[in-house]
């Protein structure tokens, strides 16, 4: 792990902590919500030893973090959203989104398309991870109430 990656994990944690405060998360939930942000980026970094494909890593991390959110929500008896949105914040492709916007001014259409598609790829991978876990958790929850 490089020094920069370590810095990313720490700042990812701080960023999630900041959002957790803005969302008025308190007490024990605050710690676990912010921790989720650090953990999600740590997973992303560690997964590079498995695959260099960033979109695939995004997908795997989204799945793992969603599972984490579902579990924590049940343990602390609170809505899943609490952990879900805070933990996924470091994964928001803000950087590539910005460079996509900036490339508009360079007048290079190929560059714009390349960056735009890459951003889209990351966003879709992230969304897919969230959706799959949500759908599964939802189905399990429904079966429980039916019983």
């Amino acid at each position: 792990m490089t020094q920069y990656e370590l810095l990313q994990i720490i700042t990812g944690f701080l960023g999630s902590l900041g959002f957790a405060i803005l969302f008025n998360i308190r007490g024990k939930k605050l710690i676990f919500a912010a921790l989720g942000g650090g953990v999600s980026w740590a997973l992303f970094v560690l997964l590079q030893f498995l695959t260099p494909n960033e979109a695939l890593r995004y997908f795997i991390v989204a799945v793992l973090v969603s599972v984490y959110a579902e579990i924590m929500a049940r343990v602390l008896k609170t809505p899943t959203t609490t952990f879900h949105m805070t933990a996924l914040i470091p994964l928001i492709p803000g950087g590539s989104l910005y460079y996509t916007m900036a490339s508009v001014f360079d007048g290079d259409l190929g560059d714009f398309l390349e960056k735009g598609l890459y951003t889209l790829e990351l966003a879709v991978a992230l969304a897919l991870g969230i959706v799959i876990v949500t759908a599964i958790a939802h189905t399990i929850g429904k079966r429980k109430t039916l019983k």
Partner: protein, 249 residues
């Protein structure tokens, strides 16, 4: 029953306002009404409106609708509303008891405004470093983050459009970043703007949109997706305008 329905609707409405998914609000109102003795309940919620009809044991049908204005994110209040709704499902309370609990929840503490400014600054600074900015970039970004939060607050009081609000915030953040560049404080604007964009991006909007969309609440999910998309476009527009004014990169 009428009063109980009103109470359940109040709780459901506030859940949505605090940032709950549609499914959670629908489910909570439904369970509460059934626990309080309704024969059947039909409820339909989208992000800006809710309709519920309750059928009582003696064949009466009661309907209430709500228009939901403005949504924010207040997880602590959502958590307490959720607890109250679970509590009602287990041991039914009288309307008066529910109302007094509800009033207590509505007074849930929020973090003081200065702390929100500080953490907005922390978010902006953190993500500047996260995306590869230097220490000086991060410091400039931190200052801009706090200023933008302050501006957003002042502006939010005057204008109710969240989309326009984000446009102005993104515009000011980018202008300030360009100013720092012109003053030769920093080598480039990109990391600073990225850090500040991260504070504006509708992350919660998107996760909730996806959760709604794929748990069967397609209309609510679509509404949320469009809103999140519009906010993202507003941020991009704010950035574009500032770049045009400051004469390109």
């Amino acid at each position: 029953m009428k009063e109980l329905l009103t109470c359940a609707m109040d709780i459901g409405e506030q859940m949505l306002v605090c940032g709950a998914e549609v499914h959670r609000a629908e489910d909570s109102v439904k369970r509460m009404c059934l626990a309080m003795g309704a024969e059947r309940i039909d409820i339909f919620i989208i992000t800006s409106s809710m309709v519920a009809t309750v059928y009582t044991a003696d064949g009466e049908a009661l309907t209430q609708t709500r228009r939901i204005n403005g949504t924010g994110t207040d997880i602590e209040r959502l958590h307490r509303l959720n607890d109250l709704s679970r509590h009602i499902c287990e041991t039914p309370l009288s309307p008066d008891e529910i109302r007094s609990e509800y009033r207590k929840i509505m007074k849930t503490r929020v973090y003081p405004f200065w702390l929100e400014c500080v953490f907005c600054a922390v978010i902006a600074g953190s993500f500047t470093l996260f995306f590869g900015g230097g220490v000086i970039d991060a410091i400039v970004s931190t200052v801009i983050g706090a200023l933008v939060k302050l501006l957003g607050y002042l502006f939010g009081k005057a204008v109710t459009s969240r989309i326009f609000d984000k446009f102005i915030c993104a515009f000011v953040a980018s202008i300030l970043a360009f100013c720092a560049l012109r003053l030769s404080l920093v080598g480039g604007v990109d990391k600073i703007i990225i850090g500040n964009i991260m504070t504006l991006i509708p992350g919660i909007g998107l996760t909730n949109a996806l959760r709604d969309l794929f748990t069967g609440d397609s209309i609510a999910g679509l509404l949320r997706s469009i809103e999140a998309l519009l906010v993202a476009l507003a941020i991009a527009a704010g950035y574009f305008l500032s770049t045009l004014i400051m004469g390109g990169i």
